[in-house]
């Protein structure tokens, strides 16, 4: 066994690719939960985005249109959830679970004749000069545009909640919807729109899976990524940068265990396979244990239906 066989820069570069679908979906869910809505349908929106994006890419030959349609696919499922939970005020947990089942089933039906086809390639975008850097160049600057977007999105969401009026309004709605309502904000409308944004992110994450990461369509290909995204939001205690760290650790340990296997390291493979979950949870728990208590709690209106008016 020779640890030198693991090429660190390539390992880091591919962990970013592996983590991006989960990161995007989790970021969308974070925004949604910040406004007090718990949408358990992430898995369903992801897989639906995966198939709508895949079909659009096959039919048009353009991965850009494919990503557009994966976003639209995510939004359309989120729209159903928004109508059901915000207009008809159904229970969010049950509606979210139903959305996941619905998304998985519908995507299988739509994707029936699309198995075993290869989508048009989505080219990498090497950042001029920076991509020439040793080590860091390969890790950070030789990716495709969606990855740059995902990192940009994490920064934006961070700034949104930290420095903007809009962020404050969203937080107000999520912390205490009655007060927000009393202040004159339209709670239902705000939640409705953020649910759609969350769907867009989940759909994009799914599209990334079927268009770049694999790239293929397979029934049930998200294989639980949506649930990991949901868990990450909680463990990252609703903070975008922790989300980024959590997603990359998860992706990293997943790939590391494959690398260790290929090296013939003598560790039980079953233990290696569960290591991504254990390590991610351990790190995020450790990170949040060091912070003051108040900043860690879930938005206080999370999962509660707004009945005011």
């Amino acid at each position: 066994m020779n640890m030198g066989d693991i090429n660190l820069s390539l390992l880091f570069a591919s962990l970013i690719v592996a983590a991006t679908p989960v990161l995007l979906a989790a970021l969308g869910e974070l925004i949604v939960e910040k406004t007090g809505v718990l949408n358990l349908g992430v898995e369903g929106m992801m897989i639906f985005g995966a198939i709508t994006g895949f079909i659009a890419t096959i039919e048009t030959g353009s991965p850009w249109l494919g990503f557009l349609f994966s976003i639209l696919g995510g939004i359309s499922l989120a729209f159903i959830f928004a109508i059901v939970t915000q207009v008809f005020r159904a229970n969010q947990v049950a509606s979210g679970l139903a959305l996941t089942l619905f998304g998985l089933g519908l995507s299988s039906l739509l994707g029936y004749s699309y198995t075993g086809i290869k989508p048009a390639a989505f080219p990498d975008m090497h950042v001029p000069y920076l991509s020439e850097l040793p080590f860091l160049g390969i890790i950070l600057f030789q990716h495709d545009p969606i990855i740059y977007f995902s990192i940009f999105a994490v920064f934006s969401v961070y700034l949104l909640f930290r420095n903007s009026r809009l962020g404050l309004i969203l937080k107000a709605v999520g912390e205490n919807h009655d007060s927000a309502h009393a202040l004159g904000y339209n709670v239902i409308l705000i939640r409705f729109l953020t649910i759609l944004v969350g769907g867009a992110f989940a759909g994009l994450g799914g599209g990334y899976l079927s268009l770049v990461r694999v790239p293929q369509w397979t029934e049930g290909m998200t294989a639980g990524a949506g649930w990991i995204a949901l868990a990450l939001v909680v463990f990252a205690s609703w903070q975008p940068f922790r989300l980024l760290v959590g997603a990359y650790i998860f992706g990293g340990v997943t790939l590391l265990q494959l690398n260790l296997q290929a090296l013939g390291v003598e560790i039980n493979v079953a233990l290696l396979s569960m290591s991504p979950y254990l390590v991610t949870i351990a790190v995020l728990v450790f990170m949040s244990a060091r912070r003051a208590k108040g900043s860690l709690e879930a938005p206080r209106s999370l999962g509660k239906t707004f009945f005011g008016l």
Binding site: M1, D5, I6, N7, L10, L11, S14, A18, I55, L109, L110, Y112, S113, Y114, T115, G116, K118, A121, L209, R213, V214, P215, Q216, T218, E219, M221, A223, T254, L255, L258, N259, Q261, A262, L263, G264, E266, N268, V269, A270, S273
Partner: protein, 356 residues
């Protein structure tokens, strides 16, 4: 448009099944994944279509895809029998116990289980000597690798998969003594994302020829992108990697399915049989060889395939030691069928452990 087509197909199959009682025999197939995987399940479906073609009106075939290897399989098979199936082909290893359970309940229905080892009065098993094909591609891989590192994406640590690794390794080693195998177990037959990750990892660690014992074509896609070589598994996968695809081990189930259905109709079908056919019987077929392979290597590979087909060569011919150095086969000795069917050890030279 596609949605409409699916709808019409479903509707027409429902209508068809209402009028299908004139058939003499109904044969059911259960698949672990979708027949559109262009791998394992696709070939079983090709076999099913061969039955359709051979018997025409006399036999009706039905199939169910994505059947998990769990109690679900029992439910699906029971459902098939209750709706009139006289014979069922269960086409994955993990259906073994479900098949036996359902077979016990319906002694008049004939069951055929692929790659398993348990039989009953109305259950026969069939498997292919895929390891014979692995000898051929192992030889090609040993010649095509420049880094002397061959990556192997493996599914579950069952004898069938271990046999394939050993056979490929012995053939590669025989032609290229410096060759080294890197093996990743992913504990699934079909998860394109995992398969792709495993293949990428192997390539990053220096493998320039990838073999697989999993079902999808994701690995071929990754190999094509990375500019390395790979082999088609179960089906020809050259569409997914025109440059990467060296050749494929193709599973030819059709002749066997037609033969067994014919026997069932004639009343000569027997349970408790264990078929284990190879290149010689056409159950394992070596696909078209790529132009990337030098002519001399092509000829040698063909000679190995022909030798195995005629029985002159055997994939496991001594002297071969086990991984721990203890002798297994003496010079000139060939492996017996019992050891092959229960193979749970690596041969000498392969690094790493088989997960338990």
């Amino acid at each position: 448009m596609k949605l409409f087509k699916v709808f019409v197909l479903t509707l027409s199959s429902i209508i068809m099944s209402c009028f299908a009682h004139a058939d003499d025999m109904k044969v059911g197939f259960i698949y672990i994944g979708p027949p559109g995987d262009h791998g394992w399940n696709y070939q079983h479906d090709v076999g099913r279509k061969a039955v359709d073609e051979a018997f025409g009106e006399k036999v009706e075939t039905v199939y169910q895809e994505n059947v998990p290897e769990s109690a679900d399989a029992e439910r699906v098979m029971t459902q098939m029998v209750l709706s009139g199936a006289d014979m069922i082909f269960a086409t994955s290893f993990g259906y073994m116990d479900p098949v036996l359970n359902v077979a016990k309940k319906f002694p008049n229905v004939k069951f055929e289980h692929a790659t398993g080892y348990k039989t009953a009065d109305n259950v026969s098993t069939y498997s292919a000597r895929f390891y014979e094909g692995r000898s051929v591609i192992g030889h090609i891989a040993g010649n095509m690798t420049k880094s002397n590192t061959i990556g192997y994406v493996a599914s579950f640590p069952i004898p069938e998969v271990v046999r394939g690794i050993n056979s490929a390794y012995l053939a590669a080693k025989a032609t290229n003594p410096n060759v080294e195998f890197k093996i990743i177990w992913i504990f699934t037959w079909y998860d394109p994302a995992k398969e792709a990750d495993a293949a990428k990892t192997l390539i990053q660690q220096g493998a320039d020829v990838i073999m697989q014992h999993v079902d999808s074509s994701a690995i071929m896609t990754v190999a094509e992108e990375a500019g390395v070589y790979a082999f088609g598994q179960a089906s020809d996968m050259s569409a997914f990697g025109p440059n990467a695809h060296l050749t494929a081990i193709i599973n030819g189930w059709g002749p066997y399915y037609v033969k067994r259905v014919q026997q069932a109709m004639d009343g000569t079908w027997k349970g408790g049989e264990q078929t284990f056919d190879g290149i010689g019987d056409g159950m394992v077929v070596i696909g078209n060889m790529s132009d990337k392979i030098p002519d001399s290597v092509k000829k040698e590979a063909q000679a190995i395939a022909d030798g195995i087909a005629s029985g002159k060569l055997h994939s496991f011919t001594g002297p071969v030691n086990k991984q721990d150095g203890s002798p297994w086969l003496a010079a000139g000795e060939t492996a017996d069928i019992g050891t092959l069917l229960g193979m749970n050890f690596y041969v000498e030279g392969i690094e790493g452990d088989i997960p338990q």
